[in-house]
Symmetry: C2
Subunit: 220 residues, 2 copies
């Protein structure tokens, strides 16, 4: 499903730039549940952003369902992203002045789901993450862990083929974290491919395979 | 040092508002290390914001060093806050276009530390949280866990009497989290009062006392 060859990512910094990824080659099969671990600053989010088609590598190949993503235009990338990938950002990236329902239905406007069904789908997924009493709130009126769950709900609402979740439980208590991980586990059993960045070993135990990054390389 | 009596906080929402705190009475002695735990949405950050003089309660009393904080003007509150309290936000609240040194020296401009010493103090604390290679970066060029450590460094730079740290390790791997907790532990041994919101039981084990919130009340 996903195949990368020798990916690098160099951010502009000073004269030579900063290499956040130094040659990542990774194969992910359809239906896998992969955890990506590693120290703070090791390149996990950078790798996720490239796999999630949100950013381009500096060099190296990325094949998604056999097609070379690097050769795509921005418009094509956005289309692939909206149809196939659900992305939950580490920094949430919610629209601060839109309600939770508006935030979660945003991806549905790309996938031509009929309008009257969109709010219902959004309500269902918000209820699954425990936010049924906050539908008409805006993200600025929520706690940190509540915003984090909205970001995850938005990633799941479109039933994507691939879910990229970047540290989805950092602001959640243990019981709520477990509910989120159980939900991801169920989606994986139904065939969804899940790539989870986490530094929590209990979360990682739900995955079938764990890779560990350090200084932009896969060390395990 | 800190004494609250029957604090409530009602956010504007619909007709009756939403009661995030429902009568919190709490005493914190000088030099304590207190952990505040509880489910996502239980009122931890709301309580921290009031104790840290960033927000006012809807009702109830808050005495800081015997003085009634509720009776203070905004200007007086800002003065108390800058001199006595170091606050590390759950959402970091960094200046996105300022460098790390500029972000961390900001509190020092209030406390009349001579300019040439400010950068040196900022560099020292940034080095202690492991960011010595990123002094001239801006927060937008950092990973989630790196931003989180800058927020904590800014809270510590002014050697405050009280440190309020709201989930300071949610984006950090286990080894980095432990370094941060060891550092807080050392500061507490030197007499700093620490109030730590966390949902990580390993972090809470560094504290001397744990209180648990649920639906805006102390349940334990
Ligand atoms: N401005 C607001 N308007 C309405 N409700 C609010 C507002 N801010 C917070 N709340 C609500 O108050 C409750 C407590 O929020 P708070 O941020 O204190 O929770 P928390 O314990 O810190 O949660 P977390 O662990 O997820 O960070 C939440 O249910 C939240 O939705
Ligand atoms: N725009 C940028 N410019 C320069 N350096 C950057 C930029 N974005 C990220 N970096 C650096 O690249 C490295 C990897 O960042 P990344 O966000 O991928 O780390 P991470 O593994 O997700 O860390 P965390 O667990 O703290 O979220 C970090 O050291 C960071 O400082
Ligand atoms: Mg990250
Ligand atoms: Mg909070």
């Amino acid at each position: 499903l996903i195949e990368t060859e020798d990916l690098t990512k160099v951010y502009p910094m000073g004269k030579e730039g900063f290499a956040a990824l130094n040659g990542i080659s990774l194969s992910i099969e359809r239906g896998e549940f992969l955890a990506v671990m590693g120290p703070s600053g090791s390149g996990k989010s950078t790798l996720m952003n490239i796999i999630g088609c949100l950013d381009s590598p500096t060099s190296g190949k990325y094949l998604l369902e056999g097609e070379d993503v690097g050769a795509k235009s921005d418009l094509e990338l956005a289309g692939i992203r909206n149809q196939k990938i659900g992305f939950a950002f580490q920094s949430f990236n919610l629209l601060p002045r839109a309600t939770l329902i508006e935030n979660v239905t945003l991806p549905l406007s790309y996938s031509r789901v009929p309008r009257r069904q969109r709010a219902q789908k959004a309500e269902e997924i918000l209820q699954r993450v425990g936010l049924e009493t906050k539908f008409n709130q805006t993200p600025t009126e929520l706690s940190g862990g509540e915003q984090q769950r909205v970001a995850l709900a938005r990633a799941l609402v479109n039933n994507p083929v691939i879910i990229c979740a970047d540290e989805p439980t950092g602001n959640l208590d243990t019981a709520t974290s477990r509910e989120i991980m159980e939900m991801l586990s169920e989606l994986n059993k139904d065939g969804t491919t899940i790539i989870l960045v986490t530094h929590d070993s209990e979360n990682a135990s739900y995955a079938k395979r764990i890779i560990t990054l350090r200084d932009g390389r896969i060390v395990r």
